[in-house]
Symmetry: C2
Subunit: 211 residues, 2 copies
Amino acid sequence: HDVLKANDKLAARNKKLLDKNGVLAINFMGAIGSGKTTIIEKTVENLGSKYRLAVIAGDVVADMDAGRIAKLGVTTIPVNTGRECHLDAKLVEKALKSIDLKNVDILLMENVGNLICPADYKLGEHLRVVVVSVTEGDDIVLKHPMIFKHTDIAIIHKKDLAEAVFASAEKMEDDAKHLNPDIPVLKTSIHDAESMDKWFSTISSMADQLK
Amino acid sequence: HDVLKANDKLAARNKKLLDKNGVLAINFMGAIGSGKTTIIEKTVENLGSKYRLAVIAGDVVADMDAGRIAKLGVTTIPVNTGRECHLDAKLVEKALKSIDLKNVDILLMENVGNLICPADYKLGEHLRVVVVSVTEGDDIVLKHPMIFKHTDIAIIHKKDLAEAVFASAEKMEDDAKHLNPDIPVLKTSIHDAESMDKWFSTISSMADQLK
Ligand SMILES: Nc1nc2c(ncn2[C@@H]2O[C@H](COP(=O)(O)OP(=O)(O)OP(=O)(O)O)[C@@H](O)[C@H]2O)c(=O)[nH]1
Ligand SMILES: Nc1nc2c(ncn2[C@@H]2O[C@H](COP(=O)(O)OP(=O)(O)OP(=O)(O)O)[C@@H](O)[C@H]2O)c(=O)[nH]1
Ligand SMILES: [Mg+2]
Ligand SMILES: [Mg+2]
Ligand SMILES: [Zn+2]
Ligand SMILES: [Zn+2]
């Protein structure tokens, strides 16, 4: 598929540029409203003193997520995808031009909410994270096998609300582990500090290993 | 755009076939896990005695939603979209072949969870419904103006959980009304029977008017 091939080439170029500058890039994919921006906010707050961070915040229109994240004092580049339902390497290439990469350790990229297309569009990232939340229903993992098979970390978020939507976070965790036995699968909630710490330590140890 | 033009042509053919058989077709779009299947289930239970119903249940893979709906005893055709992130007129044309249309009053079609592409892909429907839930965050409406501008009914669902996710269902309702002043905007929850009745009466009066 020509479009995908062209995107792969551009993604490889982005990755080369990131590697040249020693930047670890993370692609945050997930369902609409699953908690991607919230998790990025918490990550900036927690890791921001130990690592130099930058963020690319993708949204269909406007720059609401970029605005939220920028409030934390971190370099944040807003990107609009418009009618496209996924970030692509070309949009990321353009955003990278606005970042002083040699002074960045970790680049967090928030993809638009979509569990289908982002699986096929590489951005030049080193790590892929998929975020789904229990409020989408606990069949959400089995319903989207492709994206779970092609990710490096799976996060089952908003676990505090599982009972309220008749969902089992444990079932979602099991489903993800069956689809992809090699990856960490985390169950998180902003109300459970320990669960967030587990995410911070997972991502920082992966960051330290890859750098 | 050739693909969209070809889809429009096929959608027009589907609509002609539905009109010939006196079938009112509804396209249920919305975010992943927003409550589309739940609302369709409730609609089947409530309207199933007054109208002859049929359902086309779209899912990326497998037939989980079709299975849920079929349990209610209604004709349910499962459709897989695979790597495509929206139902299209071709998939619907194929599904219609399995339905005895002359004996159907209302056809409910569940689109895959996506707030971007379904706006562009007509299926041959008479009515479009967009379902989002408060658990996606109350910025979700403003973030997806296109789909709200091109819908006939907007549903803000799971309103019982608004406080738990720091969201305002009223803000979401206002945002939808500003984007599209001409359409009914409903706030619903399975725990508020009156809110569901409002949906049932909205859709049945629209059904009676269009028939
Ligand atoms: N109860 C609860 N609510 C949460 C949690 N994390 C986030 N939320 C709420 O979930 C909603 C969506 O959070 P966001 O961070 O905006 O999600 P997102 O994935 O970035 O959304 P999009 O970028 O629009 O796809 C907001 O209303 C948050 O307040 C959690 O752990 N528990
Ligand atoms: N608290 C609460 N939970 C609800 C409500 N409606 C649905 N749910 C829950 O929300 C989750 C998703 O519901 P579904 O009906 O499967 O949503 P959907 O839009 O069909 O999901 P997909 O087809 O997978 O995109 C399930 O866990 C339901 O139990 C509601 O009004 N309140
Ligand atoms: Mg976000
Ligand atoms: Mg469904
Ligand atoms: Zn797509
Ligand atoms: Zn799409």
